[in-house]
Structure formats: structure tokens, C-alpha cells
């Protein structure tokens, strides 16, 4: 893909920026402990934690930077940050 002159971009361009590659620690969600409160999704700075049909939450690893805010804030301690082997 050729570069846009002056790094100009149309709306939605940030989706091309796959920030998941930045991750060192990966949040792993334990649905057994989850109370479906949605705090993780609300506080995720990347906006990449989505609710599934059953009301559970999971991150989109394509964009999750591994910041750990979800794990830190989860009232049920249902999210564990695990070092990722790449």
C-alpha cells in the first residue's frame, strides 16, 4: 500500500494500526469467575473488549496492547495477565 502524502488519513484509519503487536502481557479472561459487570469493557483505553451473546467479555487481541487496566480493575479478579510467548 502506497503512503498517503503528508500522512493524511480518512476517518477509521486507526483500525489499520494493529496495536496488539505492542503486547507483552496478555489478559486471559476466566468466565467462571466473571460477574458480567462490564467494568473491563468500560475502562479499556483501546475500546477492544466486547460483550458476547451470553453477556461475557473478551478482548480483541488484534488491538489489545496488554496494558492490564482490565485485570487491575476487575472486581472478581477474573482476568489474569500472562506473559506471552511470540
Amino acid at each position: 500500500m502506497a503512503l498517503a502524502v503528508g500522512c493524511r488519513a480518512r476517518p477509521g484509519k486507526a483500525r489499520d494500526n494493529k496495536t496488539g503487536s505492542w503486547r507483552v502481557f496478555k489478559p486471559v479472561f476466566d468466565h467462571e469467575k466473571c460477574s458480567k459487570c462490564g467494568m473491563c469493557s468500560t475502562l479499556c483505553p483501546e475500546g477492544c473488549i466486547h460483550e458476547d451473546a451470553e453477556g461475557f467479555f473478551d478482548p480483541d487481541y488484534t488491538y489489545c496492547k496488554g496494558c492490564g487496566i482490565c485485570a487491575n480493575e476487575c472486581p472478581k479478579e477474573a482476568i489474569a495477565m500472562k506473559q506471552e510467548e511470540k
Binding site: 500522512c7 493524511r8 476517518p11 494500526n17
Partner: protein
């Protein structure tokens, strides 16, 4: 039509004829007369432009970025500390590939405070991506504004440009200048046709974020645009010559250089003094010539190497100093001549408005003949 006019007023008139739609500037000596004149033009309905008054230079150039991105032909002017305050905005304007034209009435940088001329201000922004033109006299300073718009706005370039002229020495001096008419300028410089522009109906952002996977390629593209500018300047400069009789197709100019043993390399108003000194030295039998650099960015390395290939020695005059190294021009001229056996010596002079006279030029030629150089020329020994 020839007019006897102050450099600043000739430049302001040339800018008016270029029909900028947005001007934003902050007054600073010795640039003030230019922006005062332009403010008058706008107030008196002699120029249909938005003149944005701001609190400082950083805001002035930021306003120009917005205006240029919105699709306006945009103008600013500054010098010295004002340009220093624009440092980060300069890099953004170039990175966003916005063809803003800015006049630089070259002045020394503080501390110590100096309102007088040298070229440290624009030289210090040589790496910012802006094209840099340097004028020898007020005619050239005036004409280069038209050329700068023509080149900067070319879709194969899309880079901003400084038009530099020595503060006070040119900006405040009355000289005869051939003033072009609106009809002339309209023929040479068509309406600004932005490659892309801000438009609420079709949103776009300028100068977005680039990860390490993309950043080097953006810088490479800017460097390529700088290099392409050589050909675009040649074409636009030739067209200027055809239309108005003054040819600016060459990035460098030789004066009595064809059979010279000693070549002096210089930029700006000092070239006039050098030409007079050369004429006198020629009468005395000394084969001296001048290579004048009109375009410092893109730097005409190959052109310089070709034009100097026959000389015995080169003396490069710098009205700037990269402290801890050498003058910026001598570093680049030496790089241009790398691999040749021609000795190149640098002379830093004229800093902070120290006068440079014909006798100084002759003394520098004598020093270069003795192989002495890479010095601050003309220091007052009793002070150090």
C-alpha cells in the same frame, strides 16, 4: 516598472500580488515592515485575505498550517527568535506537506541578544524539510517569493519554503526593483490547487501517527520531494526568465568563475560585496571567482562539484556557525567535493551584524592561498 523602494515593501508588494488567502505573522525586527505593509493592504482592501493576528510566532505558523490544510494559499514572515519559537511547527508543516511560504529576514540568534544580520536562524532549520532560497539583492528577494510558491505548490513537491534575505542589509535598504503587475503574476502563478484539503463533507486528518513500520518511509518521501525540487526549480525558474527576463533556473550561479584559481562560495547579500572585490582583484591579476548558492535546500551538491571542478582552492564563507563543528555551508561544500583533491577552507564571518567589506574578502582570498582557514575570520584579538 522600476521603482526605488525599501526591500520590505518590495517583498510585501510581491506577496500581495501572489494573492495569499491567509496571512498569519507576529511582528519582529527586522521583518516588521513586511507584515505591517501586508496588514495595511488587507485593511485597505488592496488584498483580499484573512490576516490572523496571534500572540506569538508558534501560533502564527500553527494558524498557517490550519489555513493551508483547509486549501488556502498561506503566508507568514519571521526571523531569529521568532523562527526559533516556530521550531516544532516548522517540522509539522513540512511533514504534513503544506506549501506555506515564509519570508525570513535573516537575523542572529540570542543570547547575547542581537537584532543584526547573520544567517544562523534559517540555517538552524536546515533539517526541517523546508525548501530554502537565499537572495542576493531586493530584486531577487522579491522574485523568489513567486518562484517559491510555484515550486512549493507543485503536486510533485508539496513542501513549505523559506525565502531568506539578510535582515536590515536588504530588508531596510532602498534599491531599484522591477515591480511586476498583477496581470504578470497571475499569468505566472495560477490559483492554488491543493492536492488534498480539509473538508467537513469529506473528512480527512493531516499528519497522522506513524508507527516504526511506516515512519522512515515518510521521511524518505520528504527527502525525495526535496531532491525532485531541483528539477521543478529549474523549470519554474526558466519560465520566470522567459516571462520577466530574470532566469532563476540555476540553484547556483558563477561569477567570473570559468578561469578562476580561487573560488569563493557564499550566500545572500554578501555576494554583492564579493563581486565588487573580485572585480578589483581581477584588475590586480588575481584569478578569483564566486559561486553563489541561491538554493540551500535542496542542497546542490552535484552542481557545486561540477562548477568547482577546475579550481585550485575553495574558500567558503559562512554567516553561521554550527558550534563545536564548522559553518554549515563549508561542511556541505566539502561533502560535495569529497574525493577531489581541491582544498576547501571555511571562514565564519559577519556574525551578529559584523560588517564584511571588500578588504575582508581580499584578505580571505590571501589566507586561502596560504592554505589557512577553518577559522572565525576577523575576530577582535583584544577581546579574547
Amino acid at each position: 516598472m522600476m521603482e526605488i523602494t525599501e526591500g520590505s515593501h518590495a517583498i510585501a508588494e510581491a506577496v500581495r500580488l501572489c494573492r495569499p488567502q491567509v496571512i498569519s505573522a507576529y511582528p519582529i525586527t527586522p521583518q516588521t515592515h513586511i507584515v505591517e505593509a501586508l496588514a495595511d493592504f488587507v485593511a485597505n482592501c488592496q488584498l483580499d485575505a484573512e490576516y490572523i493576528t496571534v500572540e506569538n510566532e508558534l501560533s502564527a505558523l500553527s494558524a498557517c498550517i490550519g489555513a493551508s490544510a483547509a486549501g488556502s494559499r498561506t503566508y507568514s514572515a519571521t526571523t531569529s527568535q521568532g523562527l526559533a519559537l516556530m521550531f516544532e511547527v516548522c517540522f509539522n508543516a513540512a511533514g504534513m506537506r503544506l506549501p506555506i511560504i515564509m519570508s525570513i529576514a535573516n537575523r542572529a540568534l540570542g543570547a547575547p541578544l542581537s537584532i543584526w544580520n547573520d544567517q544562523q536562524d534559517s540555517i538552524s532549520l536546515r533539517d526541517s524539510g523546508w525548501l530554502q532560497f537565499y537572495a542576493e539583492d531586493n530584486q531577487e528577494a522579491t522574485d523568489l517569493h513567486l518562484l517559491a510558491y510555484k515550486v512549493a505548490e507543485d503536486h510533485s513537491i508539496q513542501l513549505p519554503a523559506f525565502v531568506c534575505f539578510d535582515g536590515f542589509i536588504l530588508s531596510h535598504t532602498y534599491e531599484p526593483v522591477d515591480m511586476l503587475t498583477q496581470e504578470d503574476v497571475d499569468k505566472y502563478l495560477p490559483k492554488f490547487n491543493p492536492y488534498e484539503r480539509l473538508d467537513a463533507a469529506d473528512p480527512i486528518s493531516f499528519g497522522m501517527y506513524a508507527t516504526p513500520e511506516y515512519y522512515p518511509e515518510f521521511r524518505y518521501e520528504m527527502d525525495q520531494a526535496q531532491k525532485r525540487a531541483k528539477d521543478v526549480i529549474a523549470k519554474a525558474g526558466k519560465e520566470f526568465g522567459t516571462m520577466f527576463g530574470r532566469d532563476y533556473s540555476a540553484l547556483i550561479e558563477g561569477y567570473r568563475l570559468e578561469d578562476a584559481d580561487t573560488a569563493i562560495v557564499a550566500m545572500g547579500s554578501i555576494c554583492g560585496t564579493i563581486k565588487d572585490a573580485i572585480d578589483e582583484m581581477r584588475v590586480e591579476g588575481k584569478k578569483v571567482g564566486l559561486l553563489k548558492i541561491r538554493v540551500f535546500r535542496p542542497f546542490p551538491s552535484e552542481e557545486i562539484a561540477k562548477m568547482l571542478s577546475h579550481v585550485k582552492r575553495v574558500a567558503v564563507l559562512d554567516k553561521n556557525i554550527s558550534l563545536g563543528a564548522k559553518g554549515a555551508t563549508v561542511i556541505e561544500v566539502r561533502d560535495a567535493l569529497y574525493g577531489s583533491s581541491i582544498p576547501v577552507k571555511g571562514y565564519v564571518l559577519g556574525l551578529g551584524g559584523r560588517d564584511v567589506r571588500k578588504k575582508d574578502i581580499k584578505e580571505i582570498v590571501a589566507l586561502s592561498e596560504k592554505g589557512q582557514g577553518d577559522i572565525f575570520y576577523g575576530l577582535r584579538k583584544e577581546l579574547i
